[in-house]
Structure formats: structure tokens, C-alpha cells
Amino acid sequence: MKTTLTVNAREYDVDNDPRRTLLDTLRDDLGLPGTKKGCDHGQCGACTVLLNGERVNSCLCLTAMHDGDEITTIEGIGSPDKLSALQEAFVKHDGYQCGYCTPGQIMSATAMLKEISDGAPSYVSDDLQTASLSDAEMAERMSGNLCRCSAYPLIREAIAMASEVKK
């Protein structure tokens, strides 16, 4: 199946078995191993990427269904000498232990901060008309990203710091 993807602002033509997931395409065909495979079943968030600007689990996407789509991975939001605000905040606040969940956490948080600035509510919002970044809101909004090392408090600190920088 011939598919054209724009990944991190670069166009790629791939020719895959239709069973190929976007996660496997990114890691194995395009040489972008930053996106991780935790469960391969939508349960952990390690494979989170931005699909046309929105966070999704790439393990639950078939590459063939995404012809023409734009994908951003952890490799696309910063580089070792020029970290994104969230990447920098994770380093500063030790927002990880083994680091396996970290690319997914950072991609998810990148989208989450935008969702909040767009006014998207969450299940724990008192009022569906407003969006805020309290600790409880962050825990709820980031619940699709599990951390086996349980670095959650530091992950939330890092996100809070990055959101301050953004303001």
C-alpha cells in the first residue's frame, strides 16, 4: 500500500503491508525510534504522537489510513542542542526514571497544554465552560500516559514549569 506521510515537516513515501501500524512505520521504516512501543494496544501512551496536531496512540493507527496526514514525533519538537520548553522542564525536574515513557509523556503534554489554551474541558473540570491546569486537572488530562517508574509527581511539576515558561 503506497502512502505519503509528512513526518516532522519532511515528506516520506512508504510502501507497506496494510497491516503496518504507524508506530512500526515510524520506528522501523523511517528510522525514528524516539516513539516507543509499550503495550501495542492503546493502554500505555508510550507511542503518543501528534496526528494533524492532535495527540493519538500511533500503535492504534494503520499507516495505510493516514495517506496525506501530518505527524509530529519527539524528534520533531526539539533537538539535543535546542530542547523544547517541555523537554527542558523534564530534564530540570527529573520527570523520568528509566525514561521509556518520556517521549510519549512529552508529546502528550505538548498537546495537552494546547488543549487547555483552547479551552477544552476535562471530566474533573467543575464547570465545562472553563479549562485550568491544577494538579488534579493535569493528572486527569495525562491519564493516558502510564509511567511504570511512577515519576508522576515530577512529570506534573515539569509540565507546570513548562506552562509557566509559555505564559
Binding site: R19, V56, N57, L62, A120, P121, Y123, D127, A139
Partner: protein, 334 residues
């Protein structure tokens, strides 16, 4: 995954050619472990006309491909049908809701562990093979509407909200003819064919869900009880809306989730409540009417107490006996 032909549907007629895939968040999961192994997969995501929310006879018509996130965030839904926003936001994760579609959410399969395990008997996965859940472990199973062939519950949060809101499902067949069925007629009980879950026939496509006009001034809520605070399926849930006149309970709509093969509704309970004065005593009586003393599987006996308590808590919230976060007032969305 077993090999399959990938078909990108351009027209409604193409749908009859195989298994529909929309967001893929449920189907791909099942295909990876070969619980579902279609010969052909029909990608409906590029069909026209299914991706919008439009005003419709005072209510809304939500296209089948509109994502769960888009519905929950829609300003009109948040104003007029806040319980639908809450129910969707209570489900899965932000990542999954961004991909999951309205049609796919209604048609997601059960979370019965034996349905997922191809080494076990399961009438839903392999008709006629038996039901390993009977005599097995089963705390996610249903307590209402089961049959001797299947005890599974439907896991959707969104569908429960839509049932309480008296939504209808719009179905289009391969010749392009459209019909609408109320949520409660859309799902079939398991009877002797638990593998047949809805009234959809071959080539039928869910094209939209229709929400009727909201009742302004109603209090609405969606209460979900689960094993962890977020990113877990409901053990039980209650979707409700109530209009009060002073202390008197007026219009009531209630639906219960994860307790039956489809969103569960009980007219007897509604009749017990309407026209009465709100009180703890009334809610306790209604809770006993709603949930009988026995469950079809020993592992779900806890749901008897849990559903009664969740129902009482929801009614206290909806009638103002208790002030509680997560109560929203429906506004006319004009």
C-alpha cells in the same frame, strides 16, 4: 494480524465489502490478537458528510465520523447536553478520544476477558462454542439483560449518555436509504445469538446520532465508578437528567452503564420518581426497585450495592439534596 484487503470507501455502496474501520481504536486492538480477523477492511474515514455536527430540528445531528473529542468539546453540546460531554470525557484517554468516532464508540465490543482470549469458549466470538465466563471470573459482567448464552456488558460511556438523552441512531443502507432507531432499539439483547449485537444488517452503516432538543433548566450528571480514578472502564455508571419544580421531581431521564449488554433503562423507576418530593427515603426505595437482590454471576454481586448507591448519589445530586461537583445545568442552545 491476519492478512486482509484494504479498501478505502469512496461511496456508501463500498461499505458492504468488508469489516468497517473508523477510528480503529477498538477494532485494531481486536485484530492484533485475532479476535476479529476480517478478509477485507473497509476504511470509511474518507466518506463525505459524516464528519460534522449540524443543527437539526432544535437538536443536533452528530455525524458518525465526528470524534469523541469534538463532540465533548462542542460549545453547543457543553451548553445543552453537558451530560454527554461529561460521559465522553469520563471514557478512555485524550489520545483515544481524539481518534475514536461516534459510530465506533456505539459499536465497540465488550471487555469480557474470555471474549479476548481465543483459547476460551465464547459465544460472542465463536457462536455455539459456549461461555467461559459462566463458572469463570467475571467482575466486569452484566447484571441485567443477560441470557444463558452470554453475560457480557457493553462498556461504552457515551452510549449511556445518549440513551438518557433519548438520542436516535441514523442508519443508511447500501442503496442509500436512511432510517432512524431509538438507542434502545438499536442494541439487541444476547438471547441465543450474542454475536449479533445491534439491528445493523449487512451493508448498513451508522451515519449519525440525532440528539433531540435539550430541556433547558434541567440538571444533568454522569457518575462513573471504576477501579482507578481515570483511564478505566466503568464498573457501573449512571447518566441522568432531572427537572425540578420546587421540591417536586418533574421530568426524569436515567440510563445505567456497564450493567447490561446495552445502556440499561427502567421505566418503573422513572414512574416512581416523577411527581414525588425528593427525599433519601424515596431514592432508597427506587434503588431497590431498580436493582434486584441477585446477580447472574457471583462475581458481580458487588454491583447490586454499587449501582444502588451510585443511583442514590446521582439522584441526590440531580434533585439538589446534595451539592456535588460534576452537576451541570442544561441551557437552551438556541
Amino acid at each position: 494480524m491476519k492478512p486482509f484487503d484494504y479498501i478505502r470507501a469512496g461511496e456508501i455502496e463500498d461499505v458492504a465489502g468488508g469489516q468497517i474501520i473508523a477510528g480503529g481504536t477498538n477494532l485494531l486492538d481486536l485484530m492484533k490478537i485475532q479476535v476479529v480477523a476480517p478478509d477485507a477492511l473497509v476504511d470509511i474515514t474518507r466518506l463525505d458528510g459524516l464528519s460534522d455536527i449540524a443543527e437539526h430540528e432544535g437538536g443536533l445531528r452528530i455525524g458518525a465520523l465526528v470524534t469523541n473529542t469534538t463532540v465533548a468539546n462542542d460549545a453547543r453540546v457543553r451548553e445543552g447536553w453537558p451530560l454527554l460531554s461529561r460521559a465522553i470525557l469520563a471514557g478512555a484517554s485524550a489520545q483515544i478520544r481524539n481518534k475514536a468516532t461516534t459510530g465506533g464508540n456505539l459499536l465497540q465490543r465488550t471487555r469480557c476477558p474470555y471474549f479476548y482470549d481465543t483459547s476460551q469458549a465464547c459465544n460472542k466470538r465463536a457462536p455455539g462454542s459456549g461461555c467461559a465466563a459462566m463458572g469463570g471470573a467475571g467482575r466486569m459482567l452484566a447484571i441485567f439483560g443477560t441470557s444463558e448464552h452470554c453475560l457480557a456488558a457493553h462498556p461504552s460511556d457515551m452510549a449511556v449518555a445518549m440513551a438518557a438523552l433519548e438520542a436516535e441512531v441514523e442508519i443508511t443502507n447500501a442503496s442509500g436509504e436512511t432510517r432512524c432507531v431509538p438507542m434502545n432499539d438499536f442494541y439487541r439483547g444476547p438471547a441465543d445469538r450474542p454475536d449479533v449485537e445491534t439491528v445493523l444488517g449487512d451493508g448498513d452503516l451508522v451515519t449519525a446520532v440525532i440528539l433531540p432538543t435539550p430541556r433547558a433548566g434541567e440538571r444533568q450528571t454522569y457518575r462513573k465508578v471504576r477501579d482507578r480514578a481515570s483511564y478505566a472502564f466503568a464498573l457501573v455508571s449512571v447518566a441522568g437528567s432531572v427537572r425540578m419544580e420546587g421540591d417536586t421531581i418533574k421530568d426524569v431521564a436515567l440510563a445505567y452503564g456497564s450493567v447490561a449488554p446495552h445502556p440499561w433503562m427502567d421505566q418503573k423507576v422513572v414512574e416512581m420518581l416523577e411527581g414525588e418530593t425528593a427525599s433519601n427515603e424515596l431514592f432508597q426505595r427506587a434503588a431497590k426497585t431498580l436493582v434486584p437482590e441477585t446477580a447472574p454471576h457471583p462475581d458481580t454481586e458487588y454491583k447490586i450495592t454499587l449501582l444502588r448507591r451510585t443511583f442514590i448519589a446521582a439522584m441526590r445530586q440531580l434533585t439538589g439534596l446534595a451539592d456535588s461537583a460534576g452537576t451541570d445545568i442544561s441551557r437552551a442552545h438556541s
